[in-house]
């Protein structure tokens, strides 16, 4: 099975280890993983800022680069959701492209969703030990129905105890450019999230989207918490990574 990794721009720049971890997990599940080298971004920042033309241009670019694979997997519900839930709308007036886009959308998955529902993994290579709490990122949760998948995967790790936080499904306040435009509000929401997460006493706050994780970690550190780990689910599941 040929799987293309959609690295996501945040993993590419900020946390390469997440992409390496994703590759490790996919290979563990028997996939042949390829990384199209010209990929950049799914276009969501443009789309959500109202720049439809740029969003369409980038969606076309993704289509051309990823169309030839059996599956496309992204370590992000946000980028996965962009392709699955929003790309088709961008081409509603272009039937020929729409058909191709719908094909691509149906073969595009968020990482944990793919590991559970397509690969049906029964083991993962990681060896994390400790308690974790899981933040449900909005796009994954509400666009792709990612809720049980990461928890099922965490349950495969014998050393991991999951302690749920209050309001796990509430937005952390990231919201892409929202975090810059409405910094104070965004920070407040991040602070609420940190409060709920820390109240569990977990060693690590885990999530499936780097945007949220950078936001949560950034607020946590500013609050003076240098100890709690903030980890992408792929890192936890894959164990020691080369990133």
């Amino acid at each position: 099975m040929r799987v293309a990794l959609f690295v996501t721009c945040l993993a590419d720049l900020m946390k390469p280890g997440v992409a390496f971890a994703a590759i490790r997990l996919l290979e563990h599940g028997g996939c042949t993983v390829e990384v199209p080298q010209a990929q950049t971004c799914c276009g969501q920042p443009a789309y959500n800022s109202g720049d439809r033309a740029t969003a369409i241009a980038l969606a076309r670019k993704v289509l051309d680069e990823f169309e030839g694979f059996d599956y496309v997997v992204a370590p992000s519900g946000s980028c996965g959701g962009m392709v699955r839930a929003h790309y088709p709308e961008l081409f509603r007036d272009d039937p020929a492209t729409l058909k191709r886009i719908e094909g691509l959308a149906s073969r595009t998955y968020e990482l944990t969703d793919f590991l559970v529902n397509v690969l049906k993994l029964e083991s993962v290579p990681g060896d994390f030990k400790g308690t974790v709490t899981y933040h449900d990122s909005c796009s994954g949760l509400r666009e792709l129905n990612v809720k049980a998948q990461p928890r099922a995967l965490l349950a495969l790790l014998p050393g991991v105890t999951l302690t749920e936080m209050n309001e796990a499904e509430t937005c952390c306040g990231f919201g892409g450019t929202f975090s810059l435009k409405f910094g104070e509000v965004s920070t407040q929401l991040a602070d609420n999230k940190c409060g709920h997460a820390c109240a569990t006493g977990a060693d690590a706050i885990v999530g499936g989207d780097l945007g949220c994780l950078l936001n949560i970690e950034g607020r946590l550190r500013r609050r003076g918490d240098l100890k709690s780990q903030v980890l992408h689910i792929a890192e936890v599941l894959a164990g020691e990574t080369e990133g």
């Binding site: 720049l13 080298q37 950049t40 509430t170 306040g173 509000v185 609420n192 950078l214 950034g218 500013r222």
Partner: protein
């Protein structure tokens, strides 16, 4: 109501630091969010009900003109008088004229957001008619120098019992008390005689029923009943989009509305008004006027915001909105706060007069999944953002930033080079702590958060190295 939506950012930031307000807002989660969740769970298949609600509202909007005509016919046949108001000032003029023609001195009002929207109280006062808000929340606001509501269902959610205690003590001159029941009793004692002496009752309407020509209101306090039955005149004012075809349709919507708003299976009162008092009846108003307000609605009907007209004003979207929960309703600067306001305000007052609102959301879609009539609120906000982009209503910094980034993201070689430089620079900024305390050009982030510094090389650099 004074429009202050362009001050959203500053007012939101100020409200974050307002401890008292935060205490009041905290109650929303306890009261509305938890109660709704329980009510939905108890109901069972709420999803099917939401779908039915959406269809009912869509059907009504698809033939809005026909249903409105039918409504007018049926209402008129039963003795009501239907008035059409194209805009806010016309709506006010109609109500004032009715009052003047009938020598009205005081008007008892039950809660109506459309009356807020058109500024009815000010118009009545100007014409020498005293409006008396009889909904407890609205009454509190009225005696507090006509403070605007901060929520469409719980207008004083921003106030604590302590605030109300101070206010009543100051305005009523009674001994200060904090027990909510005692405060309610005090308001009731003051309001009763006003009900009895009012010449005109003004209500809103949650729904208009085309087949019977009836208006319907849901309330929990019973003041709505008094306003609509005791005075000799009853004026119901509402938006033209509130019409539905049948009583059957309304019964479905009534299962959605209270559950979504407050988590109740049904409100304490559901009142249907069909014509004025008939000859053989002993109670009821002698005249029943229905003022149907357009004020921008028919324009929405024809455009991309059409789905917004399905709204049944339950408030669930704001109750569940993390931004609303943090900043409160006043920050939004007009009648309708929260996600629905992010769409309605710019639609009704002009996009240029509410530039921040469509952007004041994280797009988490918590609103969309609770909306009883399945309005895709984030999608509509995004469409307004697109319109802002086309009309040049976005700050040049945002446009320039986006343009540069978008241009580079379409040129992989250049993008690779740019990102390589950027991550190295960011690594350097992070220093030995690996935390950036101050992000150049992004103080919105770093005023309240650090930024975890990257490792200094992009994934694609590392990947290429390892695979060759």
């Amino acid at each position: 109501m004074e429009l202050r939506s362009n001050e959203f950012k500053a007012r939101a930031a100020a409200n974050l630091g307002n401890e008292k307000l935060q205490k009041g807002l905290g109650l929303i989660k306890v009261k509305a969010v938890v109660n709704r969740a329980n009510a939905v769970a108890e109901f069972g298949d709420f999803e099917t009900l939401r779908e039915a609600g959406k269809e009912i509202r869509n059907r009504a909007l698809a033939d809005l003109d026909l249903y409105l005509e039918r409504f007018e016919r049926e209402a008129t046949a039963r003795g009501a008088v239907v008035h059409w108001a194209e805009n806010a000032s016309e709506a006010c003029r109609i109500v004032v004229d009715i009052a003047k023609q009938n020598g009205v001195k005081t008007a008892a009002k039950s809660k109506s957001m459309v009356s807020e929207e058109v500024g009815l109280n000010d118009a009545l006062i100007e014409a020498g008619i005293e409006p008396i808000e009889t909904d407890l929340g609205e009454y509190i606001l009225q005696i507090n120098d006509a403070e605007p509501p901060s929520h469409i269902v719980m207008p004083v959610i921003h106030k604590t019992a302590e605030d109300v205690a101070d206010l009543f003590h100051a305005k009523h001159g009674t001994p200060r008390k904090t027990d909510p029941a005692a405060l309610t009793r005090e308001a009731r004692e003051i309001l009763r005689p006003k009900f009895l002496s009012a010449d005109m009752g003004v209500s809103g309407a949650n729904f208009l029923i085309a087949e019977t020509g009836s208006t319907l209101i849901v309330t929990n306090e019973g003041n709505g009943r008094l306003c609509t039955t005791l005075p000799r005149l009853h004026v119901a004012i509402t938006g033209i989009e509130k019409v539905v075809a049948t009583l059957e349709d309304v019964s479905t919507l009534l299962r959605l509305l209270p559950r979504s708003a407050t988590g109740q299976a049904i409100t304490n009162y559901v009142s249907l008004h069909t014509g004025p008092k008939r000859l053989e009846e002993t109670d009821g108003p002698q005249q029943f006027h229905i003022v149907l307000v357009d004020n921008g609605r028919s324009k929405l009907l024809a455009g991309e915001m059409r789905e917004m007209l399905r709204c049944i004003r339950c408030g669930a979207c704001m109750n569940h909105c993390p931004v609303y929960q943090a900043v409160g309703g006043h920050a939004y600067g007009w009648v309708y706060p929260g996600p629905m306001g992010n769409i309605l305000t710019p639609s009704y007052v002009g996009l240029e007069n509410a530039v921040a609102l469509p952007n004041a959301a994280t797009m988490c879609n918590q609103c969309g999944v609770v909306c009883p009539v399945k309005i895709p609120l984030p999608d509509l906000m995004r469409k307004l953002r697109e319109e802002q982009m086309v009309r040049g209503l976005k700050p040049w910094t945002e446009r320039a930033g986006l343009a540069l980034w978008g241009w580079a993201a379409q040129r992989p070689a250049l993008y690779a080079l740019g990102t390589r430089i950027a991550v190295r620079f960011m690594k350097w900024l992070g220093g030995s702590e690996k935390l950036i305390h101050r992000l150049p050009l992004a103080s919105g982030w770093s005023d309240g958060r650090d930024f975890p510094a990257p490792a200094g090389r992009t994934f694609r650099e590392l990947y290429k190295e390892r695979r060759t």
